[in-house]
C-alpha cells in the first residue's frame, strides 16, 4: 500500500503547519514566555492538543469506515459522552483527575456507550446510518445527565464544571494529563494502522467483505475498540470536543481519496493541526479571556455536518 504523490504533498504541508503552530503555541500567551511557563504550562497543553487531535480524527476515520457511516463522529455517536461520564465517575470515587485510573474508567464507560449504540442500531446484520446517530443522541443525553447529577452531588464542580466537560478545554492539561492519555492513544493508533487495509473492504458491505476474506466481525470489533481508546483517553482530560472526527477525515478524503492507510495517517496529522489551531485561537483571540475550544470546533463543524447530512440523505434516497 503505497502513498500517492498527492498524499505526500498534503502530508508535508500539514507537517509544516503543525510545526509552525507548535512554535506559535509555545511562544505566545497571556504571560511572558519564560522557561517555567513554556515547559510547565504551554508544552503539556500543546502536546495534549496534538494527542487529542490525533485521537479524535483517527477515531472518526475508524467509526466511519467500520460502520460504513459517513456521519459518524465520536461525539455524535455517544462515545465521548460515555467517556466524560466515566472520568467524572472516577473522580467521584476519589481518583485524581489526569490520572491513568480516571482514563481507564473513561475507556470502560465509553466502550459500554459504543456497545449500546451499535446494538440498538443493528438491523439484519448491518448498522443503520441514522439509527446510530439517534442512539448516539440518547446515550449522550443520558451520559450528560448522569454526569451533572454526580457533579452536583459531589464537590467536583470546583475542579471541573459541567461546562468544562460539555465544551472541552485544554486549560487543565498538564504533564500528568499527557501521560494519562499517551498509552491508550498509542495503542489505538497502532491498532488502527494495522486494521486500515481491512477497513477498505468494509466499504463493500459485510457479506462481500467476508466473501473476500475479511473477518468482518473481528475487524469491526477491533476498530470500534480502537476508536473508544482514541476518544476516551482525550475526553478524560479535556472534555467533549465534537465534529473534529467528522470534519477532518472528510476534508482529507476530498484530497487523497478514501483509502484507509493514507486517510488515517493524514487525518491524524490533520486532526492535530486543526485542534492545535483551534486551541491557539481559543487562547489568543480574546486574550486573556479564553474561549472553550470545543465551542470553537462546533462553530466550524456544525455547518459541515449539515452539508454532509444533506449529501448522505440524497445518496440513500432519503430516510424515513
Amino acid at each position: 500500500m503505497r502513498f500517492t504523490s498527492k498524499a505526500w504533498i498534503l502530508g508535508s504541508i500539514l507537517l509544516v503547519l503543525l510545526f509552525t503552530l507548535i512554535v506559535i503555541s509555545l511562544q505566545f500567551g497571556a504571560a511572558e514566555a519564560d522557561s517555567v511557563i513554556v515547559w510547565n504550562i504551554r508544552a503539556p497543553r500543546t502536546i495534549a492538543a496534538i494527542l487529542v487531535g490525533v485521537g479524535l480524527a483517527s477515531a472518526g476515520v475508524l467509526l466511519q469506515g467500520s460502520l460504513r457511516n459517513p456521519l459518524a463522529d465520536p461525539a455524535l455517536v455517544g462515545v465521548s459522552a460515555g467517556a466524560a461520564l466515566g472520568a467524572v465517575l472516577g473522580a467521584a470515587i476519589g481518583l485524581p483527575f489526569n490520572s491513568l485510573g480516571v482514563t481507564s474508567i473513561a475507556v470502560v464507560t465509553s466502550a459500554i456507550a459504543m456497545a449500546i449504540v451499535v446494538w440498538v442500531a443493528r438491523s439484519n446484520g448491518r448498522v443503520e446510518v441514522v439509527t446510530v446517530l439517534l442512539a448516539g443522541i440518547a446515550v449522550s443525553a443520558f451520559g450528560a445527565a448522569a454526569m451533572s447529577i454526580i457533579i452536583s452531588m459531589s464537590d467536583l464542580a470546583g475542579a471541573r464544571s459541567v461546562t468544562f466537560w460539555t465544551t472541552g478545554s485544554f486549560s487543565l492539561s498538564n504533564w500528568d494529563g499527557v501521560n494519562s492519555m499517551l498509552p491508550a492513544i498509542l495503542i489505538g493508533v497502532i491498532l488502527a494502522f494495522f486494521l486500515a487495509p481491512s477497513l477498505d473492504l468494509m466499504a463493500l458491505g459485510d457479506e462481500s467483505a467476508y466473501a473476500s476474506g475479511v473477518n468482518v466481525s473481528r475487524v469491526r470489533a477491533l476498530a470500534l475498540l480502537a476508536a473508544v481508546l482514541l476518544t476516551a483517553a482525550g475526553v478524560a482530560v479535556v472534555g467533549v470536543i465534537a465534529f473534529l472526527g467528522l470534519v477532518v477525515p472528510h476534508a482529507i478524503r476530498l484530497v487523497v481519496g478514501p483509502s484507509h492507510r493514507q486517510l488515517l495517517v493524514l487525518s491524524a496529522i490533520g486532526g492535530a493541526v486543526i485542534l492545535l489551531l483551534a486551541d491557539t485561537v481559543a487562547r489568543l483571540a480574546f486574550s486573556p479571556t479564553e474561549m472553550p475550544v470545543g465551542s470553537v470546533m462546533a462553530i466550524v463543524g456544525a455547518p459541515v455536518f449539515f452539508f454532509l447530512l444533506g449529501r448522505a440523505r440524497n445518496r440513500q434516497g432519503g430516510w424515513a
Binding site: M1, R68, P70, P197, D200, L201, M202, A203, L204, G205, E207, S208, Y210, A211, S212, G213, V214, N215, R253, G257, P258, S259
Partner: protein, 257 residues
C-alpha cells in the same frame, strides 16, 4: 467432484425449513445454475454451498474436506462470490476495488502475481478505460463489470454468482454470458442463480431446480428442464420449447399457461 453437499438442512425462524435435506454434487469445470420460484431456497442453497450460511444438519465438502471448517481466508482462496448488493461506500476507484480481490492472497506487499491477476481481470472484463474513475459514478452495468473483475482477481477455482444478470440490459447480459463462458474455459467451476430460464438453459451444463426448500430435480440441463419438473417447481403448467440461440446453443423457451 469439487463440491458435494449431503443432506443439508437449514431452518429459519420458528423451525420453518428453508432447506430440506439437499444433496448436490458439482464437478470441476461445470456450470451449475440454481433456479426456481421466489422463496424456493435458491439464496439459502447458494449461501450454504459458498460457506456463508451454516447448516443445521448435513455437510458440505470442498475438494474432499469440510467447507465449514475453513477459516475466512482459506474460504476466500477456495471460492469467490458476486453478491447482489454491489454498493461501495466512499469514493473508491475502480482500480482499488479490483485490487481488493487479492485480499486472501496478500502478504505484506503487492507481488508480481497480484498485479498480473489484477491486470488479467481488468482485461477480461474490459474495464481498462475505467481504472481511475470512482466506482459510485459508474452506470449499473459498468459497476457490475468492476465487481466481476474483483471476483476474477480473487482467482478461486470455484465462483458463485447470485443473480448476476439482474439489472443488466440486453448488451450487458450478452457480455456477462461471454465472460462466464470464458471463465469456464479457463477451468473455473461456476455456480449461479437466475430467473432467466432461457439464458440459463443455454449457459449451464447442470441445473438445480428448487421448490419449497427441496431439490425438485438436479442434473444435466437438458434432463432437468422439462415440462414436468418445471411445472412441479413453479406449481403452474410450464411449456418448454427448445431452440438454438445465436451462439449455436440449445436454449429452452419456458412459458407458463
Amino acid at each position: 467432484m469439487i463440491l458435494i453437499a449431503e443432506r443439508c438442512t437449514v431452518r429459519g425462524e420458528g423451525e420453518q425449513l428453508r432447506l430440506d435435506r439437499v444433496d448436490i454434487s458439482v464437478g470441476e469445470g461445470e456450470i451449475h445454475a440454481i433456479i426456481g420460484p421466489n422463496g424456493a431456497g435458491k439464496s439459502t442453497l447458494m449461501g450454504v454451498l459458498s460457506g456463508m450460511l451454516k447448516v443445521h444438519s448435513g455437510a458440505v465438502t470442498f475438494q474432499g474436506s469440510p467447507l465449514h471448517d475453513l477459516g475466512v481466508r482459506d474460504l476466500a482462496r477456495a471460492r469467490s462470490i458476486l453478491g447482489q448488493d454491489l454498493a461501495v461506500s466512499f469514493g473508491f476507484t475502480v482500480a482499488e476495488v479490483v485490487a481488493w480481490g487479492r485480499t486472501p492472497w496478500r502478504g505484506s506487499r503487492d507481488t508480481a502475481m497480484d498485479s498480473q491477476r489484477i491486470e488479467h481481470a481488468i482485461e477480461l472484463t474490459q474495464i481498462g478505460g475505467l481504472r481511475n474513475r470512482r466506482i459510485n459514478q459508474l452506470s449499473g452495468g459498468e459497476r457490475k463489470r468492476v465487481h466481476i473483475a474483483r471476483v476474477i482477481a480473487q482467482d478461486t477455482p470455484l465462483m458463485f454468482f447470485d443473480e448476476p444478470d439482474s439489472d443488466l440490459d440486453l448488451v450487458g447480459a450478452d457480455q456477462l454470458d461471454q465472460m462466464l463462458i470464458n471463465l469456464r474455459e479457463s477451468g473455473r467451476t461456476l455456480v449461479l442463480s437466475s430467473h432467466n430460464l432461457s439464458w440459463i438453459s443455454g449457459l449451464a451444463t447442470h441445473v438445480i431446480l428448487m421448490g419449497e426448500g427441496k431439490v425438485i430435480a438436479a442434473g444435466p440441463t437438458r434432463e432437468v428442464m422439462n415440462q414436468d419438473h418445471l411445472s412441479r417447481a413453479y406449481k403452474k403448467n410450464i411449456n418448454v420449447l427448445w431452440s438454438i440461440d445465436s451462439r449455436g446453443r440449445e436454449i429452452a423457451m419456458c412459458s407458463p399457461n
